[in-house]
Structures are given as C-alpha cells and as structure tokens.
Symmetry: C2
Subunit: 329 residues, 2 copies
C-alpha cells in the first residue's frame, strides 16, 4: 500500500485504489460487494457510512451537521432506500465551543426531522487540543429499500439517457469561495437531502441507476459508471445546467466544474423512452427544477467518457488523480 | 452546551451529559432510545457505532484495527446480537504510512474473519498533514439478535448476581504503560471479541444484562446500571479478579483499576440461582477463565454503588468526572 496523499481522499482514482487495497487485506465484502454507494443487506435493510471533515465547518447553505446527514441520506436514496435510522460518531477537539456544537447538532437534527429519521445510536470522543482540527462527524445511515429492483451501474444499457438533477459544483465552489474569501453573495452549497426528489422515480421500471455527485463531482460519477458497466458515456457540455457563480469561482481558481463536489446533485440514468417523463417528475421538485438530459450511454469506447465541449471539440473525461480541494466534505 | 473538555470524551458523567445535550437539539431517538450499547431495530437487526482514536495505534495485545472491530462487535454481543456486518470510516493524516495502514487493516480483517463478519461498506478521508493525528477509525457494526428477550439494565432485580468475565483494566494499563515507557513484559491489552464467550449464555432465562467495561471501566458500568435500574449495587474489592501488572501500573501512575478501560472484559448480571451455572460456562472459554462473582444488586441505596474494600471499609463508587487517559480507545 502506498503512503497516503491528499489524492487518496479525493474520491477519484487513488481513493478507488485505496479502497481495493483495504479490502485486499483480508476482508470479506459480503452482500455489499458491488461497489455502489450503500450496501443492500439480505435482512431487508441497507446501510452506508461516511466521515465528514469539511472546513470551514459552516458555509453558505449548510454546515458539517446538515452535510453529514445529507451525505449519508443521499447515499441511501440513490439506491431507492428510504432513510430511517442514523448512527453518529462525533470526534471533537478539546476546547471545542459548546455553542457551535449545539448549532451544528441542531442543523443535523433538522435534516433528520424533515425526513422522519431517528438517531438510534451514537458515540462521542474528545481528542486533546491540537490533535484534531475542530470536529469530525461520521454518519452511518440505515433504511428500507422501496423498490424490488437493484439499482446500480450494472443496469446501464447502450442508449440510456443520463440526466443531471441540478447545476453541478455548487458545494465545492461555495467551500472554495469561503476558504479563499471570494465575494459571492448569491452562491450557496447545494447541500440537501434528495430522498423526496428521487422517491417518485422508483416506480419507473425504466430507471437504471442514480448516484449523487459528491467528491470528484459529475466527472467522477460518469467515469465510475462507464467502468462498472463496461460501456461508454457521451455527454455534452452545453447541456449541463450552468451556475454562473460556480463558473466565476472556477475561472478564478482554475478548477473544472465537472469535478467540483456537489451535495445535492444526482446523476440519473433511465431508458431513453422515459427521458421526458423523468425530467417532468424531477422538475416538479424545487431541488430538481434545473434537471436536464446531459448525454447518453453508448456501446462505443467502453469504460471511457467523452464530452463534446462548448467549442465543439470532443475531450476525454478522465477520473481525477490529485486533489483540488481537501476537506470538501 | 458547555465547551468540550477531555472529560466529555471519557465515558463517564460528562460524556453522559454531552450525549443528552446532543439528543436535546431536536433528534428523535426512535427505537434505540434505551441508552444501551446498541440499538435494536424493529426490522430485526441491531446497530452500534464507535469512533476510535487510540494512541499509540499499536500496543501489546492489539492495535487500532483490532480494537475498532472488537469494540463494535462487543457492543452488539452484550445485547445478544450476533455480529454480521461492518461499516468502516477511515480518516487518515496526509503522509500516513501505507505499510502501517496495511498492518492495521490486516489486523481488523482478521477479527472479522474469525467471526464471519462482512465489511459491507466503507469510506476513506485524508486530512492535510497536521490536521489530524495519524489515523481515526469509526466502525458501525450490525447483526441479528439471537434472543427474543431484550437484554438491558432495566431487567435488573434486587438479589441479582454481578459477574465479571476477567480481570479489569488491562487495556487501559497497557496503553498507559506504552505511553509512559513502563517495562511490563507480561502485560497485554484484553482487547478481544466477546461474542463466542457470551453466546452460550443467551439460552439462560436468568440472564438480565451484559455490558463491556470500556471507557470508564467496571466502576462506570456499575454506576450506569444502578442509575438505569434505580437500584443499588454492592461489590467486593477482594472478589474482583486481579492482574498484578495492572495494579503495578496503577500504583506508579495513581490510577484506580476500577475505572481503567477494558476491551475484552464484560459485566454480566444473572438471577442469583444461576450464578454457578453461568460461571461454569464463562470459565470454559479462555477469555472467561478468571470469571468471578463480584457482588449483588440491592434494593437499598437506589442509584448508588458501594464497594467493600480490601481494608474492610465501604466506599461509594461514583462515576468518574475527569479523564485519566485521553485517547484510550
């Protein structure tokens, strides 16, 4: 195993390698071995886990508390699993403000209340001053699958439509703006729980898979899907919903919006004949009002993702290797 | 909410207050609201979560990998839940040794293999150098209750026997010895998965509850039980299995073995008539060969724990408020 670099935590190629190395030390990956965002257990529950290290802890549109809940809720939602229970591990630095912790927990509790989720178990640890920066939250969410079909990238077929539920990169751009003191009054993280947005899609037999575009952004999800399905994906830059503030931040800092983290933006793949019907459902929810078709699955160039650029050329969308913004989530 | 002190992470009085404050920010605690070590879900699974920050990461008898697995496995086992699935969140410092991570994961995987546990989902984050000390692991374990009865402190009745499965404090003393460079060649952490030890007790209708004595040690478990059951507990110091190395470390450093952390020592409460039968079963497993009766539940002094000392006096066993050894688990 390599020594760890920031890239190993970026959600791209190195993270995938790290995960394979960890599993390779002798773990059985059991019924969750399909490398999707959550594991479907034979007992009829599904489970996912995520650790959150975001800095700053509070940002326009959310904080580490709401983020930790949304992140795990969304990992369940993408597989058609209704979020029901939460387990939470909190690691805090000695001297951490009680008032700030209370605000963060209030924000986390509010996401849980909105979705009817119970906090069933938890753990708190305090590390001596200087041994951890502020506060880390790990959330493990559990829920009940609301569809009999197993949603996942292995369902993808050539011709399938790829939709995006909103403009990508708002979480990453908000964190970057907060960290670099950029003035962007109208830019907010997209941090939101997506269960209510995607639940109505579960009755569509044409739904193939969904994935929230967190670390690594839309680009990474497209690469993961094409690799997992051994199919190609073609997307068009001009079809991707655009947020001008995100593009301004990217222009200033040299980031690519395609790889910027989202926390309330999902990629949805459906059989082509149901594209319009799916868009109508997504757009009826405020979180999906910008939903758009951005491309198609193809039998050509399996395992590779191409993008027709605004300039009309075609470029390869590759999985990112390094890390643009550490501690984005 | 108060600003956080190391005592808030020590597993005693302040930790209990912190947990109540967090829940008080607006969480529903749902079906897991009985403050036991794991939550029993109506779907027939149970879940527990724990974050591990131990330093040094490797110690005689284990490392943070085996500890993280044993800690969560034991929280399930104490409620009669067979550990089956594990979710793991890893937060590492940039530059962390790949070789060390591999050894730690091998050690974690070996505990899982021993018990037939699958690692069903996971997450990895890397924080920039200096922002977290080395490696933190959060484990969320899931399993199936193997008894129809709900094991918990509310089952305690006056007269019940309190047993201890082994000599307490070996984990805490090992960590202290490693941290202060004390020479103790024969002292090892008791870190071990306890499922196989306690599973045979589940068929005893006389079994009231079990609790592994982790942070806060045996003393804290006794205090929690007496408070949760609104009953008194009387224990005898001379009946507590004794490890001479633990006592040497305690004498040198001024610790009380009663409050030192264990990671493979459980308190077991049974109806008095089954005391001997329970001890025979426990002693048939190498992890329980020192098992002993250490005291009884009493209707007197509800909510308080008394200990007859070696000197023959009686003292109050109170819940610890401060922190003897931060980052013990």
């Amino acid at each position: 195993m390599q020594n760890l670099t920031l890239g190993h935590g970026a959600g791209g190629r190195l993270t995938a390698e790290l995960i394979e190395s960890i599993i390779g030390t002798g773990f059985s990956s059991g019924p969750g071995g399909d490398r999707e965002d959550c594991a479907l257990l034979p007992e009829g529950l599904a489970v996912t886990i995520d650790s959150f290290t975001v800095t700053p802890r509070s940002f326009p549109g959310g904080d580490i508390g709401s983020l930790a809940m949304c992140g795990s809720v969304n990992d369940l939602s993408m597989r058609g699993v209704r979020p029901m229970y939460m387990a939470m591990g909190v690691v805090a630095e000695e001297g951490f403000s009680g008032e700030e912790l209370e605000n963060i927990m209030r924000s986390a509790a509010s996401v849980c209340r909105e979705l009817g989720i119970s906090l069933v178990t938890g753990d708190t640890k305090v590390m001596p001053k200087g041994q951890v920066d502020g506060l880390l939250i790990t959330t493990c969410a559990l829920g009940r699958p609301e569809t009999d079909r197993t949603l996942g990238a292995s369902n993808l077929r050539p011709g399938d439509a790829i939709l995006l539920t909103t403009s990508p990169g708002r979480h990453g751009a908000s964190i970057a703006a907060a960290r670099y003191n950029l003035k962007t009054a109208s830019l907010f993280s997209d941090c939101a729980p997506l269960w209510n947005l995607v639940e109505p899609l579960l009755s569509f037999g044409s739904l193939r898979c969904m994935r929230d575009c967190t670390r690594g952004g839309v680009g990474t999800v497209m690469c993961e899907w094409s690799e997992q399905a051994s199919l190609g994906i073609d997307i068009e830059e001009k079809l991707i919903p655009r947020n001008d503030d995100v593009h301004s931040v990217c222009d200033l800092l040299g980031f690519d919006p395609l790889y910027l983290a989202c926390e309330g933006c999902a990629a949805v793949a459906v059989a082509p004949e149901d594209t319009e019907k799916t868009l109508v459902v997504l757009r009826s929810n405020p979180l999906g009002k910008e939903a758009a078709l951005i491309g198609y699955v193809t039998a050509e160039h399996p395992g590779m993702v191409g993008m027709r650029t605004l300039a009309g050329g075609k470029r390869l969308v590759d999985m990112p290797v390094g890390e643009m913004l550490p501690r984005i989530c």
